[in-house]
């Protein structure tokens, strides 16, 4: 079982009346709410937190890409990952990921990921998301009717750029490059492991199955809502005759560990309510650019509505539905399973259930969320590492993780000392 520590890097000082006075946390969030001098401190706190997670023994630290977003301050996760490559030793670096269609040319992704892989000595997990509607179609202006075609083509280009030995011409539908020949090349051969975060589309499941990529469901709505999606993935894998290797799946889960359930409830309520109240305040008008959802996904959604599945959680909800029905009070947040809380034993028990019932070998844990303080984040992270992690290690022990980075041997890797400003001190 792999336990990975994920940071969204939320802006932690959105005003209390944010929901009532602002249209959206995403796309058109107002610049007056952003104080760069406060963000200086936030970024440095967040990077400390990621480094701390690596130090206490998480298998990976994870970062992701968002644009014009008040809860995700990483338009470029690669910048953070390159810093982490220097400040961590053996931890995997999971960039979850680069939205391929947004890069022009997409070889930029091949280059930057290769740089991170070289700097880190082969510790990169390369995430290839399509990206949300807000990030791709609105903030970046990509045509929703071409987004998926551009994504697929960019994928092909990046893979060829990583693996072909000779300079080649790429004659794509959307990208033409006469001379593709990236320097540097990734350490991992033939390339870093590919993980694909996606919503619940059949096309994505099938593609991950066929390409032997890890499918990740990065929902903020926890394991109860995520069950339908992961079941859909595994049933598609079954249909295609693929193994149910849990390591071919990843799942995101918010967690708060305390001395007891009540203690955890009290400790994490403010941060969780900040996240679900303010950070997920997204105007539904950004949810459904036409063409973003494939017709296959639309059909699946409509069919399940028509069948009126008795249990409304038994189907995958649309973005708009999710936004509209989100619980924002701690009790609802916990009851719905968005955030798993409890004593170390209680959390371990619940996560064991998540990992086994969803058949997931890579748990991506959000232990910092909303406006959680650095102290509380460290407490949550440390307690998890000390008292929860050991209880989960044995899960899925019978399976091999074929999708984990294969770094250079430790003895071959550069010795990277921590930054010590000797001259300034002298």
């Amino acid at each position: 079982m792999k336990l990975m520590w994920f940071h969204l890097m939320p802006y932690t000082e959105l005003p209390e009346d944010f929901r009532d006075t602002q249209p959206s946390v995403w796309v058109d969030i107002h610049s007056s709410l952003f104080d760069p001098k406060r963000a200086h401190l936030m970024y440095n706190d967040f990077m400390d937190e990621l480094e701390y997670a690596a130090e206490v023994g998480f298998d990976a630290v994870c970062v992701n890409e968002h644009h014009s977003n008040g809860y995700g301050l990483m338009p470029s996760p690669n910048l953070i990952a390159s810093s982490l490559a220097r400040r961590t030793r053996d931890t995997a670096l999971c960039v979850m990921g680069n939205s391929l269609a947004l890069y022009n040319p997409p070889t930029r992704v091949a280059e930057e990921f290769a740089m991170i892989d070289c700097i880190s000595g082969g510790r990169l997990i390369a995430g290839f998301p399509v990206g949300t509607p807000m990030d791709t179609c609105y903030a970046y202006g990509t045509n929703p009717s071409q987004l998926r075609q551009r994504y697929m083509e960019a994928h092909d280009l990046v893979m060829r750029a990583w693996t072909e030995k000779e300079t080649f011409a790429f004659n794509g539908r959307f990208n033409q490059q006469r001379y593709v020949n990236i320097w540097p090349r990734p350490v991992q051969t033939p390339h870093p492991p590919i993980w694909v975060p996606g919503g619940g589309s059949v096309e994505t499941w099938r593609w991950c199955a066929e390409m032997s990529y890890v499918y990740c469901y990065l929902s903020y709505y926890g394991y109860k809502a995520g069950k339908a999606t992961m079941d859909g993935y595994w049933s598609e894998m079954d249909k295609l005759g693929k193994d149910r290797n849990p390591y071919q799946a990843g799942f995101l889960q918010f967690v708060g560990v305390g001395e007891s359930r009540q203690h955890a409830f009290d400790l994490y309520a403010e941060a969780a309510e900040y996240f679900y109240g303010r950070c997920l305040h997204v105007d539904p008008k950004w949810a459904t650019p036409p063409g973003y959802s494939s017709e296959g996904s639309q059909r699946a959604g409509l069919e399940s509505q028509v069948k009126k599945a008795a249990d409304s959680s038994g189907r995958v909800k649309s973005n708009g539905e999710r936004i509209a029905s989100t619980a924002r009070e701690m009790q609802g947040i916990v009851d719905n399973g968005y955030v798993i809380i409890g004593s170390p034993d209680e959390v371990a028990e619940q996560l064991r259930e998540v990992a086994t019932s969803l058949n997931v070998g890579h748990l991506m844990l959000l232990l910092q969320y909303g406006n959680m303080s650095k102290d509380l984040c460290r407490y949550n992270t440390k307690l998890f590492a000390d008292a929860v992690m050991p209880k989960l290690r044995d899960i899925h022990a019978g399976w091999t993780d074929h999708w984990w980075p294969r770094p250079m041997e430790a003895s071959m890797r550069a010795n990277v000392p921590a930054f010590t400003p000797k001259l300034a001190a002298e």
Binding site: E295, L302, V306
Partner: protein
């Protein structure tokens, strides 16, 4: 209402619906945002004096998934040229609305001999930073009817599934229509058509719904100023962006008078 004759033409490998009704000189109609999921009274009005020929555009209702292979603006214009030829519209007058009106203008710019007069309702294609059109693709679903039509119920009725229609495929087809428009015009509606307006010598009528909440009225003047041929602007009281849906008789009368002139 009339039942039009339905023909099928091949556009880039996709079976494409062409409706035909009425008699008299030919008049092509390129539908606006959302396309034509059903025949509409406005077309009956036009058919009183003309042979109305209504080809679907790729990806719009009746146009299958033809939009999915059109990647550039040139691809779209070539498709429009094929449609004009195959739907028997070469040399005919053209009328159109919104997104369809924009493509009629493009055809008149590139193939002036293939197009007679132009009667257009609030075409897409321009973008003024200081007075931008409303973004039709960033809207809550229940706001769309009131943006497209002065009377939201008119749009809702146009888009409502008819009895016996497929409850899965019908809504997908309506999303596809919006996607097809996005494929041409995302993100601003700006196709740089201003570079081609000076090639258009066809006499042009520009109609604007007085309550157009998508395309500001000032765009009528911008189009008129750019055209090489004579342009007339007429405003339709009580109509929204898709003026032909709100005020079919009035819009058809304006078009008939202009074409008869």
């Amino acid at each position: 209402m009339t039942q039009p004759e339905t023909l099928t033409i091949d556009v880039g490998g996709f079976a494409t619906r062409v409706w035909r009704a009425g008699s008299g000189p030919k008049l092509g109609w390129f539908a606006g945002f959302g396309g034509l999921p059903r025949w509409m009274p406005f077309l009956d009005e036009l058919a009183k004096t003309r042979t109305v020929i209504v080809p679907s555009l790729p990806g719009f209702p009746g146009g299958d998934r033809g939009h999915a292979v059109l990647d550039t603006h040139l691809d779209w214009l070539v498709a429009v040229k094929q449609i004009l030829d195959k739907a028997d519209l070469r040399g005919a007058d053209l009328a159109g609305s919104s997104v369809g009106a924009s493509l009629a203008l493009e055809a008149a710019a590139l193939w002036p001999d293939a197009v007679g007069k132009l009667a257009l309702i609030a075409p897409f294609g321009l973008f003024d930073d200081k007075n931008p059109p409303t973004d039709p693709w960033a809207q809550r679903a229940n706001d769309v009817p009131g943006l497209m039509c002065a009377d939201p119920a008119v749009w809702t009725a146009m888009k409502a599934p008819p009895e016996g229609s497929n409850s899965i495929e019908w809504p997908i087809e309506q999303v596809r229509a919006s996607e097809a428009a996005a494929r041409i015009f995302w993100p601003l509606g700006n196709t740089r058509i201003e570079k081609r307006l000076s090639l258009i010598t066809a006499p042009t009528l520009l109609l604007w719904g007085e309550q157009d909440r998508i395309m500001p009225r000032a765009y009528a003047d911008a189009f008129a100023a750019g055209l090489a041929g004579p342009a007339t602007i007429r405003t339709i009281p009580g109509a929204g962006h898709l003026a032909e849906l709100d005020k079919p008789a009035e819009v058809a009368a304006e078009i008939a008078a202009f074409l008869a002139d």
